[in-house]
Symmetry: C2
Subunit: 258 residues, 2 copies
Amino acid sequence: MKTNQKPLILVTNDDGINAPGINALIEVAREFGDVVVVAPQEAQSAMSHAITLKTPLRFSKVQEIENVIYYKTNGTPADCVKLAFNQILERKPDLVLSGINHGTNSSISVIYSGTVSAAIEACIFGLSSIAFSLCDFSHDADFTASKIICRKIIENALKNGIPKDVCLNVNIPKIKIEEIKGIRISRQASGLWQESFVKCVDPYKQNYYWLTGEFVIHEPEAEETDEWALNHNFVSLVPVQVDMTAHHAIENLKKWNL
Amino acid sequence: MKTNQKPLILVTNDDGINAPGINALIEVAREFGDVVVVAPQEAQSAMSHAITLKTPLRFSKVQEIENVIYYKTNGTPADCVKLAFNQILERKPDLVLSGINHGTNSSISVIYSGTVSAAIEACIFGLSSIAFSLCDFSHDADFTASKIICRKIIENALKNGIPKDVCLNVNIPKIKIEEIKGIRISRQASGLWQESFVKCVDPYKQNYYWLTGEFVIHEPEAEETDEWALNHNFVSLVPVQVDMTAHHAIENLKKWNL
């Protein structure tokens, strides 16, 4: 970054450019530098790290207000990051922020989350990136406390730098700022979504199914996890990496008769 | 598994139920037990771990041939696994197989791959699962060697069991069986897809973009990686885990002023 330039911050999300959560994040981001928003035109929740290969991508400038330029795309969160780097941004961003998601992205949800995948995509390209989620799925969620938390973490990220090949997954409990006990560096808790499909019948007598589920935590007492932090009124901050190798299993597999 | 029951094997993929790759895998799987196929009705490549929340899911039985029952769904690969466990299978499968993908899923592609995500979804539910990919994107790819490799790995998986909370990501080079030097237990190589969007103009003078890219490997000489294995005529077998925590970064982040 040249000394005469303000930091350039890319902001994206998976709830879409009109979600209150991304606007809360933009409000904080613009305190730190010039902001370019490249976000899906419609909600893209649970799109994980999907990218668009079979249909063409489009993007267009929506508006420009002071130090914020807004672009919308028809792509997934990961597409937004790729489009921003390759077609939209004139220089490498100093920070990529994703969110604030309306809803939790802790534990196994990191795998399904479009919000976190956008941060991971930036991380793959060697950029500093942070995903923020508020544990409140409602459209009218109150982002007042979240903005204070985002500000504190962004300040630290710009000052200290994020470790190489790592992005941050931040989850914020749905409580007032004075009730938040602090920010805990955590690991991803072991858990899963236990499915319960809701079966319906259409007017043509054909069955169809809505995917729903309930989160089941395998280790509720593990104090070092994101789930424990959230359940005890802490913000959780999990460093996330892109190497999915189960290194501990390699020696065992080498004993197979292959 | 009761001793009087044959193993139950769930087969899925991301290229869709009509792809030659899944039919090659079914041919091998049925040698080992009863097979239920639950696969997307259309190609779902690069869908990663996306799941379908905003539109209803449907599935229907396509055919039943000897010990293989085929179902097609309108869902993603991860949806297929969830539907199979929750709505279709009468008992817990002994093994979940995904593929054989038409195209490579090594290195960073593990993040984008629907094929691997199906195996990961099964792993989240505590099941043994393997993703198979042939390094040949063509529809008419020759799966002769792949079937021999799949058979060997499935034999080992059923005999030895796959380590807990781990699934296997197998990539097979596009060469004849007699040219394959062996199966190497590997780790995910560090690399990325360097994007190069192809810009087009529609009849209404609007720009649109096709996402393409070239794979860039960061560590071509690292012999313990999947990329090295494939480039040296080995099959790569990478154990994959769902914990994405960058454990090594936790102590560093604890020094931040939060």
